[in-house]
Symmetry: C2
Amino acid sequence: MLVVKIGGTEGVHFGPICRDVAQLVQQGQRLVLVHGGSAEANALGEALGHPPRFVTSPSGFTSRYTDRKTLEIFAMAVLGKVNALLVEQLLSLGVPAVGLTGMDGRLLQAKRKETIRVVEKGKRKVLRGDYTGKIQEVHRDLLDRLLEGGYVPVLAPLAVSEKGEMLNVDADRAAAMVAAAMQADTLVLLTGAPGLLRAFPDESTLIPRLPAARLDEAMEYAQGRMKKKVLAAREALEGGVPRVIIADGRQEERPLLRALEGAGTWIEASMAGG
Amino acid sequence: MLVVKIGGTEGVHFGPICRDVAQLVQQGQRLVLVHGGSAEANALGEALGHPPRFVTSPSGFTSRYTDRKTLEIFAMAVLGKVNALLVEQLLSLGVPAVGLTGMDGRLLQAKRKETIRVVEKGKRKVLRGDYTGKIQEVHRDLLDRLLEGGYVPVLAPLAVSEKGEMLNVDADRAAAMVAAAMQADTLVLLTGAPGLLRAFPDESTLIPRLPAARLDEAMEYAQGRMKKKVLAAREALEGGVPRVIIADGRQEERPLLRALEGAGTWIEASMAGG
């Protein structure tokens, strides 16, 4: 069982990744695809006169402040555009894709963070009315049912609260939670960088292998979005996934297959070191 | 097995319909929901500076001319907005909804009409580059699998061509094809009118019962969008669905339950008359 997360970042090409997925599926690989869509959501928000508002938490994480209107724009972009186009591309390659969100059948149940703490211009503030969630439970029945039927689930990063509210969730962490719940052998996070860099943005400082014991250290030098990937990697490993690969989704040739063959940063629980 | 189509017309309220769906599902009713979203697609197209272009065929049917950009806007609206909000509303009522499009698992396979014949200002023209389809095959396996698991499929009107292209399809006719393929007992088309009217828009001319043998006649007096519903009714009946109900989706109280209890226009194969 393989879980692959495709970044919504500019530079990540869906075509080559979908071709690799088609080849793996044809070889009998059971696979779940999770995707982002931030770039599309930002562009749509701009076009509709409701540009995104990014906020930084006291601990340094950047996220999208998601009021109800932003949530609906996010859903239109990630489900109505990114998910639909991915499903279309996979179908044209003969992959029996099924587009989903974490709302479907309460697949991803999350706790809504109604208020978020942010730092703006050096001042701490509390923002209300946010529709972002932290995933708490993965109900894998729907995925099992689809995989048994030979389908390839393609999952957009929306979840549902206990009350039934749609919530925006982080796609990397959603992929990690799904990989853990599905007892995947491998989680691959394809992104707009060659992997984890010791000195961002110098790509020659790629870390090819990282023992899980060194993840705390990695949280120090990971920059920006990469922090969330390291966090997602840790969540997956703690959830029992033996291997997480952070690799380059910008490659035109075999980006996913190359990652599985050894490219990018491999993080394994069983690696010696620390 | 019940198939319910909810119109995307103004005036049709999702809330009361979803409450009825929740009650029926709780009573053990197997149900598939199909929805439109034209109004949302039009509004989004306007907001994005790509307003819809409606064309009329030589035989008098009105449809949306769907170039690739219009198709992507249509997908954002019907899947990313209408479908997501319906799933959210159903979940909040305890219904285990799963949002789908006809692309998923090639559920609705359609033939692309690459060129369409239209009449504009009294002149016949041929338009190219259209992404509209006519459904040719329904692959029901995905629906069966979800229904077996106790899920309620919620289907957006997108289909896939043999080549794997996303296509816009008519939601009424999609519902009819699904009802036939699923051997539904009843297809309910909920719309912005009390049913089929002999003299549109006079609502006192509602036809409460119509034998299938009189559908040809109904095609004569049905106006505008209602023509497609009559066509959909015929397709469902020809496909073996014994009963089609065209009823009022604008009701605040029990719109779907009332339809099943006798409201609207009931069209049955077995009715005497002709």
